[in-house]
Subunit: 134 residues, 2 copies
DNA sequence: CCCATGCTACTACACGTGTAGTAGGCGTCA
DNA sequence: TGACGCCTACTACACGTGTAGTAGCATGGG
């Protein structure tokens, strides 16, 4: 069997995304440290964060190690993997699983600000210019 | 105050998206008709679909009218509004609320197939060609 | 030596979501 | 006219998620 690289990519809930963002931004980190980083955004109680971290550990998205009796966390799931999963999920729910229809939507839809659309086009030009990267 | 156009856009769950897709594809429609359209994809029981429809009606995403004693459904939420909400939600969860970082991600990330990236670029060229749409 | 603090482990609980089931009414075909 | 089938209204129930609370152990300061 060997790799099995796509073995259950965990889908993150909203609150879990917040935790992961904090953890990606600075890790390893203790719950206290994460709470400090998240408190203005969320106002969570310490135990709330601990619950979320425990769930993330269960999901395999975060590792927990005891450092001197205190839990220290480290992300296992990488941000781009998580993003990828989230994008795929959106595509399947709302865009026929198709990538093109998302882009099409982004380009055509009024509700995405025209500033956004401009940015999109700029990025694409930029990307073309720079060739197919790597 | 006046407009308040963004007054609670309903977020759709996965199953609800399926219903809405069927309904957008063909409406007005009865539950039976929708079930017929959805049955291979979902295998839902009739009552399951009814439950989902009821929830969508509650959310204001679908209208229900009695036609001769039988419920007939019509989408109230338009597909592009729903898509827009979903995209915004993704951006906020996973892409700093920023549109650019999503595009950037799409262009840079290996996990979106290169077929996808190719399609993206094609669409953009096409869109540029056609100008900024009427 | 004992209390305040801080950490961990476990529990709680409401609401959303996926997925139905049951009861009861109505038309229709035999 | 009674059984069959279809529809509606209501109920159920497990699991995920958001958001904590409580109990109990350790440790350091007075």
């Amino acid at each position: 069997m060997a790799k099995r690289r796509n073995d259950a990519l965990p889908a993150l809930s909203d609150a879990e995304w917040k935790v992961m963002r904090a953890l990606w931004a600075r890790h390893p980190a203790t719950a206290r440290e994460l709470l400090a980083a998240l408190t203005t955004e969320t106002g969570w109680a310490y135990t709330t964060l601990r619950t979320l971290l425990a769930r993330l550990v269960e999901k395999g998205a975060v590792s927990e190690s005891k450092e001197d009796g205190t839990s220290v966390y480290e992300p296992l799931l990488r941000e781009d993997r998580a993003r990828s999963t989230a994008v795929r999920s959106l595509l399947e729910r709302a865009f026929d699983g198709g990538f093109g229809s998302l882009v099409h939507f982004m380009l055509e839809n009024e509700e995405l600000s025209s500033r956004d659309r401009t940015e999109l086009e700029r990025m694409l030009l930029e990307s073309k210019k720079k060739g197919s990267r790597s």
